[in-house]
Assembly symmetry: C2
Homo-oligomer: 226 residues x 2
DNA sequence: GTCTATAACCGGATAGAC
DNA sequence: GTCTATCCGGTTATAGAC
């Protein structure tokens, strides 16, 4: 069998078992067995169990980008564009909510390559941030200095919403939806106010701090938190 | 030997080994050996390795409260008081930096009792929030509506700083210190500006959202993220 | 019934033969 | 690239000491 098929077969078995039994019960041995492959062989293709989870992330990430589309819902203001992206995000990850806690556990381990702040996740993070850059680019009424920091800030905001979503056990995660819609509203308003440069010194200080943080990261990234 | 001493000895050994070798290398067998106790005995007192982490968590929390003291450094303005609390926090956790990543791994697992948003952590979270309430209480120039939300917000802020710290590999975590000091400065300024109620509607909307989120939590907490 | 110790068990990960 | 055999460490079962 072609190596590519073997790898796909293992991944398929893993995703099946994750869905059927959850993360803990889906042992590497069971995955290998389901894929009719030896344990060692499974490890030949996937360095660790975590690498199998990465498939989930990559998939939902790709799905989100596709769902967002090229025109971002054709909206022209920040509120509409951000709302579109966030809605698509929540819709994309919704089917995985019951597994999310386990799947995202490794994501929050700073030593894990799955961590969104890690070197390995940088490509995905960059792509995700690019989506928010597109959100911002389509809007006129944003001051230049703010425009520069906004994509990163929005990405961070979206991570916060996802974190809330993970913990949200309300029916259909309606609380997350409510929070998301109200906070998107707020963000649009705050950006509007801030863009009129009404609060000179404080605003400048905030932007300077954000700029410095990004500069530090360029060298040897500790993270983007806060 | 009295049981209490045995338990303390095991915890002591565990913390030592966590500090010396980090979490992975500090095996339960090594911990038991260091404590001159059998493996089974260690498990008699601590149901799992996670329980040892919980003990660590409780201890640093208590240390922080003690370090903060009753007068919060005798400062009278928000900047000084918050700075004092945050400095004590970073000083308290500093010795455990290399093992902190693991602490946070389980802490961010929504199914883990260690999760700061979990039911089990509620007492600690409440105590920690109380510290920030004391920070706020000692300051005069804060508007009433803001004063109500601030303790929770500051707790959340402090979690963000800790998250940054965990990822921060700079010498002595100087980046975290810099970020902390600058952001404390900013928070004090923002609170000052916001307390003069200059930005009516936006400010009211933000506070209303925060109030609603807290109200939701009262019933069946999904989390306090963002 | 409270504590301690030893010997498994289980699953993630690795080594090395083919 | 695929296998088998093995390691390693968290966890559990269980036997016994006080």
């Amino acid at each position: 069998m072609a190596p590519r098929d073997t790898k796909a077969k293992i991944l398929e078995a893993a995703l099946e078992l994750f869905r059927e039994r959850g993360y803990e019960a889906a042992t590497m041995r069971a995955i290998a067995k389901r894929a009719r492959v030896s344990l060692g062989n499974a490890y030949y293709y996937f360095g660790s169990k975590e690498h199998l989870i990465q498939a989930f992330y990559d998939r939902t990430h790709a799905e989100h980008i596709a769902a967002v589309g090229l025109e971002l819902g054709a909206s022209k203001d920040l509120r509409g564009r951000l709302l579109w992206v966030m809605r698509k995000k929540l819709e994309t990850i919704q089917p995985y909510h019951q597994f999310a806690s386990v799947l995202f556990r490794s994501a929050s381990d700073p030593t894990s390559p799955l961590n969104p702040f890690s070197r390995e996740s940088e490509p995905v993070r960059r792509e995700a941030t690019a989506v928010f850059a597109r959100v911002v680019d389509g809007v006129h009424a944003i001051s230049k200095d703010l425009r520069e920091e906004l994509p990163n800030l929005l990405w961070l905001y979206h991570m916060g919403i996802v974190l809330y979503w993970i913990h949200d056990e309300s029916e259909g995660q309606w609380r997350t939806w409510k929070l998301m819609e109200r906070s998107v509203d707020l963000i649009a308003k705050v950006v509007a106010v801030a863009s009129m440069s009404g609060l000179g010194p404080v605003r400048r200080k905030i932007l300077a701090l954000l700029r410095d943080l990004r500069a530090d990261e360029e060298h040897e990234a500790p993270g983007t938190a806060q």
